[in-house]
Symmetry: D2
Subunit: 337 residues, 4 copies
């Protein structure tokens, strides 16, 4: 940690600060600059609180040298983590394709779409049973009935299932029934929910929050891991910007960054990023080319009558075309699909 | 609702769309333009799903004419809502001052600060017992012990107390002990939590999310109100932007906008917006001048040793000076403090 | 254009508004809704000023149905525009690779790098002679000497040259010497500069502004085209967001969007988006997969001693590897490189 | 400057880096940390280029300790700069009120409005003769005729005049006729234009760019000052965010920040920030309370027929009311108006 101190600070205030820092077990190296003095701290600074230090009027700035995350940090865990989901590996050589409707709308619908996406090349099935909706007047999901319909669809197709958990009270239901628990963008910093899924061993698909930095996102993974669950999969789904032609702005630079800084897999959700089915193929192929470990894509066989997110859903046929092109791009960069 | 349709759409597709819309109980007015045709829909369009409509390839755009919020909408409730908290009115002529430490650190600390902020002119006491922290390794709050210390401080000073609720499992504890339940910025779209506090009658302080539009914020209030709780108080605390010299960017235009569009009170939190004690006074006086119904400000008697947020905490003396100036500005705009 | 009018507006005010609109040559279709009335305007609304209309207190909202751009609009020009640069086509089947140093640093440097990037597969040479720098104390470019060094490098290698124009006073120098005039992100809304290059026939590489919407970007192209120059090439280089691990956030959704809405070519600059050489390959391959018509990449043979932007420059060898992979991805999507 | 170096870096690479840094005249202090090593540099680091250093693969991060601005820096110029405009001081005790129409529309219009705003309490007159418009088809300003009409209005009222300069070719016209040259938001990083006005002695009103950080804004002032013109006045006019209910988000924290970090005056433009006349009064009073040195507000006597920006223009009567309230708030914080 680097602390910048005002040049005009009094000696007694500087001594007091050094003493306080040393009491917390860190060594202080003093560098006298022209306009500022700098303290370089060596040792375990993780317990030091930047905001308290900044409350000291002789301090003008604080910079951390080490990352605030440990368990997710590649520095201390150089090899890739591969998350195993019913025998399917996420983070290995094979790019994993997850597809399905935004919402489960009934047993027929989810079973039918499950078969179609499997046919088209999907490895897993997505479907929402508990839906985070901006409006209290919008369809809120089928709840337990939706989860059970997903379970039946898994029996019929063999596809592992992914669904979003919104509240701790449904955790048991998810642990019992679902193969990957999704934490949605709006709950990325719902820390109690993170701790709760951290106490299970279920794979967790951790979506990036609408306006969260990559560092905050890794810290959310750290919450889950620090409770004992190492099976975290990052999922980028676009961030909020000023642009109005797309629903969100997909940030593909996160792929090489997450891979450099952490050892965890990362998949991409182009559907929520774009909000428009016409953009999905381009963004999906781009994600594969950039090194994503998987894609989660909304597919519906009747988007105009979907109960939610119709505008961003691909029809199964277009999805199958995307998978075909994706396979070839995967090959170019030494992956499989 | 206004639907823009491609000029080259086939007659049969247009007829099908009109038929489908009419089946949902709305009248369709057709306007033939030069490059596009436009459908003007009259009737209750609240059940129509924009995203499904946009999945129809002949549709290029959808615009809503009416606001998606009803209970919070001033159009249907022209008079101001005043939220009564143990006899203190929020949203009336008097500007309400809430102050206290970021975190409760013990009985002595909260009792001492409670007395100091009361002395300095505060009407209510704030203090966090459950803390949303970016890092799992940071202090997470004293929990129940913190809430009880707040209750004791209320007994000693008479100040009503405000604290943040992070999980439904603590709701009962909050209903029993706390006077205003705060929903934090990170939970503004934790819809299960919103519904849960909506089932109580407790006043709810609803912070704006880091990257949420005003419309989403009002919809979050609508979630609470639609469950039966009309006592919602908006709280602006800065939004996330590209700027790095401040922690967040305080958006004061929300004050006249919330007052024009809704009938609910709005208060300002300059502490979290600025993240720097040196900016608090200027932003507080600005908030009062802009018409805020109250201010919630972090005050600590030893910021350098605060357990959280020291850098943005005012000392009681500076807080008292701020209150003095604030009172005079309140007078200029016809308010009291 | 759709105008939303308050339900409680007086008849005389409504009549006055209709009369005023009809005087401007548009037909007004009136739709009486439940909470608002709506005017649907048919005819040429391009002369109507939204902001003036919004100054009318009976109006609550205005929505345009037609796009504000005409010359760039694919609706009126369905076939792709291909920009010809000394025989190299941008916007055709072949993906065009532009490479070179951030700044021209001397004849030797630019000649040497020109040969290296040609060898590695580049089609054109980039190099800055006039540099937009945040600090007045930073290297501002070699000016005319830099342009002349570029010209010599073209003679030596046959590569057409691209350089950024910052001020109208250098326009003649650029028209005479340069093959593509680059308008930088900071000048995307320097309207006098846009008009000036619009009066030439030179191909213009129009970078997207740091915080400009796609619509504003297309309108900037419209400025150039409306002066008579149809040879506009869009260039995405990342937009400004809250994220701190990258310099900018590359927005690849612009590729299918620009291609849907306009008939102009679009290329990608991953170097300025990322600000970090380690991210360039992933973002470049992603751009090709998403359908970009070209890439402009910073390449330097000694990045640690570059006079600017060293951290985001690739060495020629890494660039050659990127070109190899890019060629294979181009093939997958039916392009060449 | 603080350089973070990888722990596993080879000794020879570290030695080479130290040698290179010392050759540039700085002293290197080495701190050996647990996960990283840190170099603390003492001496004049202004010539070191962060991006070149970051191109060195053993370096992971660079932090500057000193600010990159010198002439604008309060550290080296502790007393406030007061800019004198025809005898009116900006940055002194009196808060300066600038008002007038968005565009000059003719001699009658500007003369009439000049008298009205003077009557209402304005100190200076604003009016655009060269207009930066998003669309090439929108009114582009009256040009020279507009400037001359402003000059006449000054003769009639005594009010100094402010107008926006968009291109160097009009600089002479502005130096001769105008009292304050405005640099618009879109030209904040038009560095050639900044240098050009820096070569004059005219007061410059430097608007903040739509998406520029405070640091970049101060660096733009530094461009002007480094050419010899010390008369820079900052003007905040809102920044671009995701919010859609306002045109821009007004950032009032800049007032105390600019005053802490620089010695230059700062005024606020609430009209362009809000884009809606109904929000102007609240934001204006807030700006005064926060310590602004002045306000620039759009006033038009017939907003519905204004040639530009009608929706955000106040009528003279409402402006006069705002001035009255503003005067009282000014008094509370020890200023005059």
């Amino acid at each position: 940690m680097i602390i910048t101190v005002k040049k005009e600070a009094k000696k007694q205030d500087i001594d007091l600060l050094i003493q306080k820092l040393e009491l917390q077990g860190v060594q202080v190296h003093l560098i006298l600059g022209e306009n500022y003095n700098v303290f370089g701290l060596v040792g375990d600074t993780s317990k030091l609180d930047e905001k308290n230090l900044l409350a000291n009027p002789i301090i003008t700035d604080i910079q951390r040298v080490s990352q605030p995350y440990k368990l997710a940090n590649r520095m201390f865990h150089p090899e890739d983590t591969i998350v195993n989901v019913n025998g399917i590996e996420i983070g290995g050589k094979k790019i994993v394709m997850i597809a399905g409707p935004c919402s489960v709308e009934g047993q027929d619908q989810i079973s039918r779409i499950a078969k179609e996406v499997k046919e088209a090349g999907a490895d897993m099935l997505r479907g929402g049973a508990y839906k985070p909706r901006t409006s209290p007047y919008a369809f809120q999901g089928m709840g337990t009935a939706g989860i059970l319909a997903m379970v039946n669809a898994r029996h019929e197709t063999g596809l592992p299932i992914v669904s979003e958990l919104m509240a701790i009270e449904h955790l048991e239901e998810f642990v019992e029934n679902v193969d990957i628990i999704q934490i949605g963008a709006r709950n990325m910093q719902n820390f109690d929910l993170l701790k709760a899924v951290g106490k299970t061993k279920k794979p967790v698909l951790l979506k990036r929050g609408l306006a969260n930095t990559i560092e905050e996102w890794i810290m959310a993974a750290e919450y889950i891991m620090s409770e004992g669950n190492p099976n975290v999969i990052f999922c980028e789904r676009g961030i909020r910007t000023f642009e109005k032609y797309t629903r969100n702005t997909l940030d593909l630079a996160v792929i090489p960054i997450i891979k450099e800084r952490t050892h965890l897999p990362i998949i991409i959700d182009p559907s929520h990023a774009a909000g428009d089915y016409k953009l999905i193929e381009a963004l999906s192929l781009a994600s594969i080319a950039a090194g994503a470990d998987g894609l989660i894509i909304e597919v519906h066989d009747d988007p105009c009558n979907a109960w939610s997110d119709g505008s961003q859903s691909l029809k199964p046929k277009r999805y199958a075309q995307l998978v075909e092109k994706g396979k070839q791009i995967a090959k170019v960069i030494g992956r499989e699909m």
